[in-house]
Amino acid sequence: MSEARVEQQRPASGAALLVLVGLGIAFALLVALLALAKTHSGPIYGEANMLYTALVLYAGAATLYMGYGVTGIERYVSAASLLTAIGFAANTAAVAHRWSVAGRPPFSNMYEMLLSFVWTLALLTLIAERAYKVKIIGSITMPITVVSVILMQLLPSDVRPLVPALQSTWLQVHVTLAMLSYAACAVSFALAMMFLIQDGMKTESFQALTSAGMVAIYASMLITRFRSGTLAVTAYDLESKSEVMVSRGHPLFIQIPDLGWLYLLVLLSALVPLLLYIAGKVKKDPSLFDSASKGMFVSLMLQAAGLAIFIARVKGGQYSAPGVDGVYATALPANPFLLSGIVGGIVAGLLYLLLLWRREGLQRMMPAADDLDRVTYKIICIAFPLLTLMIAAGAYWANQAWGSYWSWDPKETWAAITWLVYAGYLHMRITRGWRGRRAAWFAILGFAVVIFTFFGVTYLLPGLHAYAAG
């Protein structure tokens, strides 16, 4: 049924493409203005200028990759690839400059981690494209790099001194390996999703998956941050560019009025398509799937509005907290969990819409299902040893800094759970011959656990690793 509907869609016309490219250029210009507004002093080869160069190039590449995703014109890829490569060189210069100024590898705070993450992601994109011929990957990874670099503009970028516990080579080894292994897990996730597309999983099943993801995002946001109609955000001191702390490890939460209700509404809007899908499955009524797709569109609009209102309220006001005198400001970088959740939901929704409208074109551009299945496995064969060494380096550092190699703190425990999930995947694949759909679902589960380890543990569970949030 869904196949029939897909076929009815007209291929993207030249006008649509023009609009898309136009939007991309406008986007790049906006970003340029954003970056220019910040006064950049220092040498031309300095970090800020290099990062700005990388941002503009990455934005161009992302637009071209997405253009390729929509139209399937191969020419776009070679241009996008070139832009990515030059952007990557600028990015490398930014990393090198910061390294030399700080006298240590750039992994110590959120800004530096994003800097390294973007670098790794661009590198992996180039490798996946050149070595494995997965050209479409850039239309997923490059927008992520652009969003990350824009986020970085909001974060304090001064070279901060390291507290004693973080002055360790092993910590840097640990973080580098974490970055590499998580990036590999992300790539395996993207490949597994592509496999499911190529393997003919129904479009409405992707809709259900996307809705479920959105529901999970907003539910976890509301469970932790909903306070009688308001939304709790972390207070942020704009002068010192740091979070306001109640005591060590406990940031101050201030409440933005009414935003909680808005997000409850968004949660319901994400829940409706999921329920429609379930109803369609139970009643065997495919017309409900069409309604679900429309519901997705509405939910996505609401989510975009939610993001705009969130940014406006965060930037333009001071809020109070119950039991605390005075009002406090907040900022986007103080709330990476909320921000990445909202943005992540929107990106997932847009990718679903792309699939809904352009499935055939997408399938033509992707490698065959068998190849995707095999490459997913090979990427996990890279991710798993990296994951193992990452945990080992972390344990060695903990043994040097805290007196024990394993203390079951939540971050450690979840890293071990991630390891167990991928160990399970490898066992099922190697000894039981699991491949195809079951293996793809396993790889998706693995990445979901990685996401939870990265964000969930820091923002949903308390832990020793509060350093990373600074």
Partner: protein, 490 residues
């Protein structure tokens, strides 16, 4: 059911992959639960009381969910994983050892049929054909050996035979890690101690009090010969250091200046820098002494355990120091260790040796005014005793853990990036009186890449054999379900 069959059943259950996966899932679920429910060793008691109602907390405590990772049943679970790993290794070992120690060198006709990659070429001269095959194999990086069986001759070549042991290496490394962890759980300990500058102490407060004991006496004393903090320009800490000496039987046996991330190791006991602070006991107190009869006020500094002379031949000493006091029934008591509301009892001894006792109760009045004495004293300032906060741990099992980690690194490297490739060649009859050169090969993983390599090998062989090739049989289409099927069922 006899004892033997029960034993067989248990053995088979433990040796199955299904059991392994089941245990992985169970360990994963309980670990996840342990991060969602607050755990006693890592949470403050007040936080636990705030998070759960008294009934819930009592229930969680009773079920053992507030300290999962030290619960006996969790350690038992890990032990079961260990046993499972050992049984699996024992079960699969004979097969792997056979492949390793007694490789099939000559491909019998029956064996030939089981290989995924094969090819046949019609040849005229047997010996020449084999030497061509030997040369081509050499070009592909193999070192073939000539084999004969029942008068038939052939070649055997292989690469990376050790790859069959990867599974054992990885499983053994896990056993090492678990064993190390379990040893530490039984004999290891971890605690902290605060050593004031100039003092030597040897008793630590244990972090998790196993068996009800909360203190442990070390086999030596730790003396702090100095401690300090360096800060960055913005005031955040840059470096904490402590100069430590260890004293055993009254003699100094070792000394080191430690910093964060660089612990002191002595006889398996590791001492870490964890914090830096001021004790609530001053080293010296400085008072202003104002003569009651009138005159210039003077400052006088008194060490806590000493005395200071005043102008008229009197001496001043500190009889009692209470950092934070309260008064009840006309007696002074200590309320806390925070030195923000002190009470000091002074002893003023005159030239005749008579001592007068005077009190300063800081929050009432910072003065001895109204107490019959030739001076009025008031607290002016204090220098504080500094102490270094040390973390002490004894975890002898960690060597097992590190050996395990290294073994695992090698094991995974071999498991994922090496493969046991085997190629056979043999002379066979073509059934019509002529001779055939038969070649076949297999690998234990990465079959797709091997298939491509084997195709190249075939092409090269055909070229070398020249026009001799008449029949060429396509390789069987590989059953994708068998691909990457490795050591276990090899």
């Amino acid at each position: 059911m006899g004892l033997k069959s029960i034993w067989t059943k248990v053995y088979q259950t433990l040796a199955s992959v299904r059991t392994g996966i089941f245990l992985i899932i169970v360990v994963g679920i309980f670990s996840a639960v342990g991060t969602v429910i607050l755990q006693r060793p890592t949470s403050e008691p007040e936080d636990m009381q705030r998070a759960y109602s008294p009934q819930t907390l009592a229930l969680l405590d009773r079920v053992g969910l507030t300290d999962i990772f030290h619960a006996w049943w969790f350690l038992l679970l890990l032990t079961l994983v260990c046993i499972c790993l050992i049984v699996v290794s024992v079960d699969r070992w004979p097969n792997a050892w056979k492949v390793y120690s007694k490789p099939i060198r000559f491909a019998q006709p029956g064996f030939r049929a089981s290989l995924p990659q094969t090819a046949k070429f019609t040849v005229a001269n047997e010996a020449a054909a084999l030497s061509v095959a030997e040369r081509v194999l050499g070009r592909f990086g193999f070192k073939p050996e000539a084999v004969t069986e029942n008068g038939a001759s052939g070649l055997y070549a292989e690469k990376q035979r050790y790859s069959v042991f990867a599974l054992y290496l990885v499983h053994m490394s896990l056993i090492c890690i678990f064993a190390g962890y379990i040893v530490d759980g039984i004999v290891g300990y971890r605690g902290n101690i605060q050593v004031p500058e100039g003092q030597a102490l040897g008793q630590i407060s244990l972090r998790d009090d196993r068996g009800g004991e909360s203190k442990k006496t070390l086999p030596f004393l730790i003396r702090c010969d100095g401690a300090g903090e360096e800060t960055y320009a913005d005031g955040s800490p840059k470096k904490w250091w402590s100069k430590l000496a260890l004293i055993e039987d009254g003699k100094q046996v070792a000394a080191k200046t430690i910093v964060v991330n660089d612990p002191f190791v002595y006889k398996g006991i590791r001492i870490y820098q964890s914090s830096m602070g001021q004790s609530s006991t001053p080293r010296t107190l400085t008072f202003t002494a104002t003569p009651t009869k009138g005159g210039e006020a003077a400052a006088v500094e008194v060490p806590l355990n000493g005395k200071a002379m005043l102008a008229d031949g009197e001496s001043l000493s500190i009889l009692r120091w209470v950092p934070d006091y309260y008064v009840q029934d006309n007696e002074v008591y200590k309320k806390s260790d925070d030195a923000d509301n002190p009470a000091v009892q002074l002893g003023l001894t005159n030239a005749q040796g008579e001592t007068k006792k005077l009190w300063i109760l800081y929050s009432e009045m910072n003065s001895t005014k109204g107490q019959d004495a030739p001076y009025e004293f008031a607290i002016k300032s204090a220098t504080w005793e500094k102490f270094t906060g040390l973390e002490v741990s004894h975890q002898p099992g960690q060597f097992g853990v590190w050996i395990g980690v290294v073994l695992m690194a090698f094991g995974l490297l071999i498991a994922f990036y090496t493969q046991h490739v085997r190629i056979w060649a043999a002379i066979a009859d073509d059934g019509k009186g002529g001779k055939l050169l038969w070649v076949g090969g297999t690998t234990n993983k990465n079959r797709d890449r091997f298939q491509a390599k084997f195709e190249q090998f075939k092409t090269a062989l055909q070229e070398e054999l020249g026009g001799q090739a008449a029949t060429k049989i396509d390789p069987k289409t590989i059953n994708p379900k068998n691909e990457e099927k490795t050591l276990t069922k090899a």
